[in-house]
Subunit: 133 residues, 2 copies
Amino acid sequence: MEQSIRLTKRRSLVLDILREHGHLDAYELLEMARKKDSRISLATVYRALAYFRERDVIHGRTFGEGHTHFEIHDAETGSHAHFICTGCGRLREITGRFMGDLEQLAKKEKFRISRVHLDMFGLCEECAAKEPR
Amino acid sequence: MEQSIRLTKRRSLVLDILREHGHLDAYELLEMARKKDSRISLATVYRALAYFRERDVIHGRTFGEGHTHFEIHDAETGSHAHFICTGCGRLREITGRFMGDLEQLAKKEKFRISRVHLDMFGLCEECAAKEPR
DNA sequence: ATGCATGCAAATGTTTTGCATTATA
DNA sequence: TATAATGCAAAACATTTGCATGCAT
């Protein structure tokens, strides 16, 4: 809900890492950030995340393990969709060609959509092969 | 990933409350449960939630406030979809008529879907009226 | 000189766990 | 009985904050 974005060295670092890797949790971010800037603190990471979240640059989500993963919004749609394999835990991003349908639906419901989060849980090809049904 | 489900008085209570109210957090659940059973503890609520979650009866999700909401899976699809108003915070459930499309997509991606979580963030009709753009 | 940004450590809030007790779906 | 569930309090985590210091998108 804020407007201007002031980028510091450390905020940029956090953002760059997210840009490169996507959906990381705070500790993973801290670890990667420290490779480039050994003095960055966990508090700064969290503060940067909160800062960007307020400004709608990133969002956080949880996949059931009790902590938050952060990622940058999809540039076009502000949306994100995932396949999460319940077998191996792998997470794959899927892109937004069907987001239009959802917006369609939203319109019918008189809801003005700004962001969609879609998570699909199931088995990926490999895990499905191992565990046939 | 577990098989049998043993229902005790307290587990049933937790489940009944979720059935009646949907997406509650642990404290809300505790509060409502205590109206029927004044001696139930927070630990039991959490343990019941973990128990049902392992057995895929319920799932938890967060909407950005730092704690988890729990709800029962949709009976047919195992899926859930929400509109979350970023203005007033209201949450509305939407039903699954377009879930088929998603399953279609999943099939193309060779992913065997068992559950879909869809959250759409935006402004509800009332908030959109207040804050036109 | 001023206003942010930051590190550190402490505080908070949520969820989990160890252990003794109670119930038995 | 034997096993599992429960309450209570403490512990463990994830996240936030107060305060002193440092920096300058």
